[in-house]
Symmetry: C2
């Protein structure tokens, strides 16, 4: 099994090291990840400036390729120009902090896996629920198991799995659940400050308003210490509204002059 590993926290992060350590037990790994942290970059890709690829060494040993770009860039250039042929699976993470509910939209970790799905490569994005997580071994083990399930069962082209692992001791994990993306959203707050030159600037903070109350949602599952596995895709069409909008008869809109 050829496994391409990426992330959004950067190639020197603890989460990707734990993932690589565990996944090399089950396949041939190659790490291609952003040179610097790329959290919350969403599905950004680099077009206006060129990308560079550098070899990254850890304690004197080759660890992987660092890309001066976004997580989606890493998958695109990694598969096209470094691997040359698609891997069997792409695994992105392990992210510091959950990527559930609305956070999926902003996540660079998920976008790396989504870019793989766009290229018809099976993919998993994996996060632990705390930004202060120190031990990624359980999350790494869970991911390895799930990767083997993905290769056994297969995933439809264009679908990826978004996995969130509670940051609690292993014995406190309630189990693993198949979930849907929750509806919880941020109540954003922009904190206003003044720089030493008298000019205002604003920091984004806020609170996640947890409206999800059933275990079938990623947000509520992780709150209850379940490992959450959500199949997601990149077909953004709102089919329900598509059907209801037929009554608008927009095909006549240009005739109304």
């Amino acid at each position: 099994m050829r496994i391409l590993i990426s992330n959004d926290d950067g190639i020197d992060s603890q989460g990707i090291a734990a993932l690589a350590e565990e996944l090399k037990k089950i396949g041939d790994i190659i790490v291609i990840a952003p040179r610097t942290e790329q959290s919350a970059v969403g599905h950004a890709i680099t077009m206006k400036i060129p990308l560079r690829i550098t070899e990254y060494y850890k304690n004197g040993d080759f660890f992987g390729y660092a890309i001066e770009g976004t997580p989606a860039d890493c998958i695109k250039i990694g598969i096209r120009n470094i691997l040359k042929t698609p891997p069997d699976i792409v695994i992105s993470g392990i992210n510091h902090g959950s990527n559930a509910a609305i956070n999926i939209i902003y996540s660079g970790t998920v976008s790396a896996a989504r870019e793989a799905a766009i290229m018809d490569v099976p993919a998993i994005a994996v996060s632990v629920t705390s930004h202060e997580a120190k031990d990624f071994r359980f999350a790494a083990k869970v991911t390895a198991k799930l990767a083997q399930q993905v290769l056994k069962h297969g995933l439809p082209n264009g679908t990826l799995l978004n996995v969130n692992v509670p940051d609690v001791p292993e014995e406190k994990i309630s189990g693993m659940l198949l979930t849907q993306q929750g509806k919880s959203k941020w109540d954003d707050i922009y904190e206003e400050r003044c720089d030493p030159y008298g000019k205002k600037y604003y920091w984004l903070t806020g609170n996640l308003v947890e409206t999800d109350k059933v275990l079938e949602t990623d947000q509520f599952a992780i709150k209850n210490n379940y490992v959450s596995v959500t199949p997601i895709h990149f077909d953004l069409t709102d089919y329900k509204t598509y059907n209801s909008m037929k009554s608008w008869q927009i095909e006549n809109l240009l005739n109304h002059d």
Copy 2:
């Protein structure tokens, strides 16, 4: 009608000027847009550095607020800290270049509108199909008409309209169609070059492989000179795979040690 206007090409672009010019005929407009071009930033948001807001003047007249951030940032801070209360509608564009099929994923223009939808504000993203577009007046008129339809019929919370207008003379427009996101994808090419110091770098180019062949898809509709209107949302759950994955019985996966 209070209309918040944003884009991803930057506050000084021609597309947003044409949009503002037309929309002020139908409502009170406020422009809050990125200070610099933000194409292909996807749904990136700025968290690691603070945002700044500056007033932007055009020919001596106040035009709007420029944000040193992404399109999604503009909507968040614009609604929270500048407008204070949500507008009746957010309109993002007019983008230079189509945002159809897979390009929706990478688009900053769409992400501004999507951020509005996340905040339960009705929203439209609008693009003309050519990067060399010079005349945005027809696209602006179409958008104004559609905005009035959105306010008349309403949109479900979380849904936005993604509009693409062919860059052809108005008399060559075939009509307007309600569409779904197409499946066309990029065949990426990273062009390898060498800098003056002997180091390699890579530019992203590529070709869109147009696999969409029915007028019900955005990509084929615009190819046939129709104005395309696609309702999209941010629920990424792949429900079909969610149902089929029940047979994996992942709830037992952690017991297999």
